[in-house]
Symmetry: C2
Subunit: 102 residues, 2 copies
Amino acid sequence: MDDSRYTDLDEETLFLVSQTFKALADPTRIRILNLLFNREYSVNEIAEQLHLRQSTVSHQLRFLKNLRLVKFRREGTSIYYSHDDEHVLNVLHETIQHALHH
Amino acid sequence: MDDSRYTDLDEETLFLVSQTFKALADPTRIRILNLLFNREYSVNEIAEQLHLRQSTVSHQLRFLKNLRLVKFRREGTSIYYSHDDEHVLNVLHETIQHALHH
DNA sequence: ATAATATATGAGCATATACTCATATAACCA
DNA sequence: TGGTTATATGAGTATATGCTCATATATTAT
């Protein structure tokens, strides 16, 4: 690996990078994001699919929403969530594949 | 994004993936790995470069070592650490660049 | 063997995290 | 308006995490 990859990191970058990975560091959030690879789901649909409580899903979605990793649209009383960050989703996808095949 | 990216994740994969990202979810570990992009460093050199306590560095290196993200070699009383996982290092590098330029 | 240097580790503490229950808020419909 | 369904949120609790100090271990040189 060449030297050009070393950069002294400023506080802000460090925080953003660590926060991004923190989003991916929890099994529940990974399962949610992994489900959203597929298509959009409502909060209750996510809860049912993954056998989680509605409040658990809602709390985690807020976390992912704050980091702009998911977006949502309202339809009646339901809110449908979908992924919203290609880069992070790719990173997750690659790492899952890496884990599955190694 | 196509449907082919959805896979129901087993416990083991989920654990491995979340652990991997957990390694990257802490500012101190990011700084250490980012330093090791460059070249190998001894424990004390890392501590000096990053203004961290020796024990802090040693604890974090143990964490990274357990996940096989770093390797080491002894030279006298010093132990030199270097990175040992191209995939994870690439993911970190890409995400740092992404954060720096967005 | 003893001293000096480098690294590893255990315990303690403060903070962060993730889940759950209960309840609030919001949209829709009769 | 009142009732129903869906989602969000606050508080409480248990566990996890990261740092620090003190000390143990290991290697080298005298």
